[in-house]
């Protein structure tokens, strides 16, 4: 065997091995013809080896990518498969949304629990003329941190504030940044007509003072009308809500991953045999 024939045989062996990289259906249909075309090209004296080899290498890279993409498109872009994946994806998204929203709502509603009783009890006592019901700072034990008042920014203890009919504070068990917080006048207007409101309230806006309060505001009727606000720092509830959000997000990503893998596996095993 001459040197040239030996080189031809080696190149043809390399090309035959490269055929294994093509998707099986394409390889079965065209590999012999492609090898023949390469063989013919090697024998063509008008085409130098220095032109042919780079051309074939480039062609291998581009056509391999093209044929694999084409096979993947035929395998996975079938309408039924995509529709199923989309429906499952939508269901997973809805489920993750519910997993996020429902516990958050339960946590938020639960954050009002002691305040509802506190606000209504104090308001009822005030309506009955029991002025002793007005909370005094020292009615709170050690929770007050020694100063006798709840520091809303730091303490998780519930507290009560009583306002007069104009919304001016009369007595308070708590303060925020040294002041008694006062809700917006719209809240008092609403409570005047609806007797009670339950709100998430951020007395001082801004990132540094972003204390949020789960507040229940109860109307006080009678000879000395006014309002009772029972509140509690929502820090703990918010951290639980954030945890629920993270878990729901991870669940969502996990479900989408399972759907993606399931779709790919099902798509592969149910692929058209002609693909």
């Amino acid at each position: 065997m001459s040197e040239s024939q030996f080189q031809h045989a080696r190149l043809e062996r390399f090309y035959a091995a490269a055929m294994r990289l093509y998707p099986p259906p394409f390889r079965e249909a065209f590999a012999p013809a492609m090898r023949q075309a390469f063989h013919d090209a090697l024998l063509d004296r008008s085409l130098s080896r220095r032109t042919l080899i780079p051309l074939v290498l480039r062609d291998l890279v581009t056509s391999l990518a093209k044929e694999h993409l084409s096979t993947a498109r035929e395998t996975f872009s079938r309408p039924a498969l995509l529709f199923n994946a989309l429906v499952l994806g939508a269901l997973a998204t809805g489920l993750a949304f519910a997993l996020n929203a429902i516990p958050q709502q339960v946590l938020r509603l639960g954050a009002n629990d002691p305040q509802i009783a506190m606000a209504t009890d104090v308001a009822t006592a005030l309506e009955q003329g029991n002025r002793n019901a007005i909370p005094q700072p020292d009615t709170l034990p050690a929770l007050a941190g020694g100063a006798g008042k709840v520091d809303i920014a730091r303490s998780l203890s519930p507290f009560v504030i009583v306002y007069d009919d104009r919304g001016q504070p009369l007595a308070s068990q708590a303060q925020l940044n040294g002041k008694i917080p006062v809700p917006p006048s719209g809240v008092f207007s609403y409570v005047r007509t609806h007797q009670q409101d339950r709100i998430s309230w951020q007395p001082v806006l801004g990132r540094d003072n972003g204390v949020r309060i789960a507040a229940v505001i109860q109307r006080v009727d009678g000879p000395h009308p006014g309002f009772v606000l029972a509140g509690r720092n929502m820090r703990e509830v918010e951290s639980r809500e954030a945890l629920v959000g993270q878990l729901a997000g991870l669940t969502w990503i996990g479900m989408l991953g399972v759907i993606l893998v399931g779709t790919l596996v099902f798509g592969w095993f149910s692929r058209p045999k002609t693909a």
Binding site: A29, L60, S63
Partner: protein, 114 residues
């Protein structure tokens, strides 16, 4: 089985070169590669992978068909279909109009090949 949709002009250089090559008659793979490489065949350097990938899609689109002729077990011959002829004609008309326009703008010499 023909299941694809015939490509609308402009055709890709590879598809155009293959159609032009087969317009002369039935040919096998390397003949088409050689024709395509020649300047009058489009000057497209086709490798076997691109050639047979294009032929596969062109067969699905009904532009070409295997002739059944074979002088070797591995050498397969292809021919243009009626649809292939009409798609090639439409592409040539489009290119002819572009060349005529270029001539009228003085971008190409009148009445001659550039």
């Amino acid at each position: 089985m023909v299941t694809g949709i015939a490509p609308a002009p402009p055709l890709s250089p590879a598809v155009f070169a293959i159609l032009l090559s087969l317009a002369e008659g039935e040919k096998h793979g390397y003949q088409m590669m050689k024709d395509a490489r020649a300047p009058e065949g489009g000057g497209v350097k086709l490798g076997p992978g691109t050639l047979y990938g294009s032929l596969d899609r062109m067969m699905l689109a009904g532009l070409v068909a295997e002739s059944g002729l074979s002088d070797d077990e591995r050498r397969r011959y292809y021919r243009l279909t009626k649809l292939g002829h009409s798609v090639l004609a439409a592409e040539l008309e489009r290119l002819d109009a572009a060349v005529a326009s270029a001539r009228s703008l003085g971008l190409l010499p009148q009445g001659g090949r550039s």
